[in-house]
Symmetry: none
Subunit: 285 residues, 2 copies
């Protein structure tokens, strides 16, 4: 039965009960985190000056989209596995859907650029040029990564490396532009926001680094063999740990890069909101 | 088994796992896009001047309706196919429901006219006359297209052409009216909004062009034969690619014409919102 479905190239490595539940639980926690961040970002708009509200709205949209996709990813996880007694979980033959995560990135990564540029409040012409470059680079990065991600045949390992390499070019371009633009903008920002922007710069660098590492780990010949169901018993364990590690890694990176980053955007907006601060001080006096 | 179901006239061409999932994934992504656009449009109303808020509300309603219909279309897709081992997906005999898309258009196309006319802020008498003509034409266009869309019998191919031709008359009338009215209104718009209105005019022309092309492709004798399950093996492949291409094409066109267009309406409203902009500048001083 399992052997037959393996021909579909959608086989998942066998998992222990602990491994299966670890992934299932982190998906549920990610749904909760993204949903909570969305509520916070939508409703905290009235706590900042009017010009920073669009930045919070877009941040809220990003985590709402991620909340939907993690809900769908968790369902796909349930469909891809079934409990087979004490042996743990075996793949049902249904594919665990990688595309939800890519659909999420296609929609949210450009919006993450919009929320950052929007909270910086750069000169209008500069913001437009910056956003255009960042959004095009983000779309290219995701589109070039996907053909490699879906390769499950170990003999086509080198193709995955090529797609990953191509996808890295816009990836490093985005990191370079964000880093230099954030650094350049620091002088024009109020002192209270400067420290927070330095943290935002660091969060982008650290969380974004997870994605190429996870992509590379998922593309080793062992991992591909496990994905294709052609691995031997020993490789199977490596493959299982690989799948579990990849999913938990992506989930933690997504929570930090979207919900954590959204809260940072709020803190920056709050630090720059002089009018609201003045009104609060006046009211408190 | 499959042959038996074909008698219902609702047979779908066999699909590979990749083909089935490509359509399934684009439907899920469309649900996410429409839902995200709805949240954005509803909540960004407070970021524009009061007179442009109805335009954003109607834009939000359009993508909410589309979100619901793509959710239903995706369910219908799941019901229409089942995984048959390594062979991929075969039709279950349940009809993949074309009507959801037509129900969506009946409700949303007139509302798309309302959101556009509403953001233009034309003279009241002129807006009423324009809207009346556009809404009647939109209803006629959709009502005349549907009888042709449901024809699955290759021998009735010419009937489909006639319905498609009749439906094209109000279609081209709408495009003509929108193009000339948008062009005429450009002079009375503030410079910041002019560029955006030119983009809106182009988005309408390009996205709307997809619908008659998709309709024509779905109505070729080969495609109808595949739909009716009477095609031979070679035709079946053409039919499968046709079905997959048609669904992906409609989904991308709907995302652009509804969610993308909604964001354009927001940007036009924002560009024309002199009071909110003045308040922001005043507050910042």
């Amino acid at each position: 039965m399992i052997e037959c479905f393996c021909l579909l190239g959608a086989a998942m490595p066998d998992l222990s009960v602990f491994q299966y539940n670890a992934v299932d639980n982190i998906f549920s926690m990610t749904v909760a985190t993204m949903g909570a961040a969305a509520l916070f970002l939508y409703m905290s708009r009235s706590h900042v000056d009017a010009e920073y509200r669009p930045a919070l709205l877009v941040s809220g949209i990003v985590v709402s989209i991620a909340c939907y996709h993690y809900f769908m990813i968790r369902h796909s996880w349930h469909d891809a596995y079934s409990l087979v007694g004490a042996a743990g979980y075996k793949g049902t033959g249904a594919a665990f859907n990688d595309f939800y995560r890519y659909a999420d990135w296609i929609l949210t990564v450009p919006l993450l650029m919009v929320e950052l540029v929007s909270v910086l409040r750069l000169h209008s012409a500069k913001a437009t040029s910056l956003l255009t470059r960042l959004v095009i680079a983000a779309a290219l990065m995701i589109a070039l990564g996907y053909p490699g991600e879906v390769i499950a045949d170990p003999s086509r390992w080198s193709e995955r490396v090529i797609w990953g390499g191509l996808s890295s070019i816009p990836f490093f371009y985005i990191l370079y532009v964000l880093w230099t633009e954030l650094t350049n903008s620091l002088d024009s920002q109020p002192p209270a926001a400067r420290k927070l922007l330095e943290v935002a710069r660091l969060v982008i660098l650290l969380t974004w680094a997870v994605y190429p590492i996870a992509y590379a780990l998922g593309g080793t010949p062992d991992a591909l063999a496990a994905k294709a169901g052609t691995a031997n018993a020993a490789d199977g364990v490596v493959g299982a740990n690989g799948v579990v590690g990849l999913q938990i890694g992506y989930a933690i990176a997504d929570m930090t890069a979207k919900a954590g980053f959204g809260v940072l955007i709020y803190l920056i907006a709050k630090a720059k909101s002089t009018k609201t601060a003045a009104a609060e001080a006046y009211g408190a006096a």
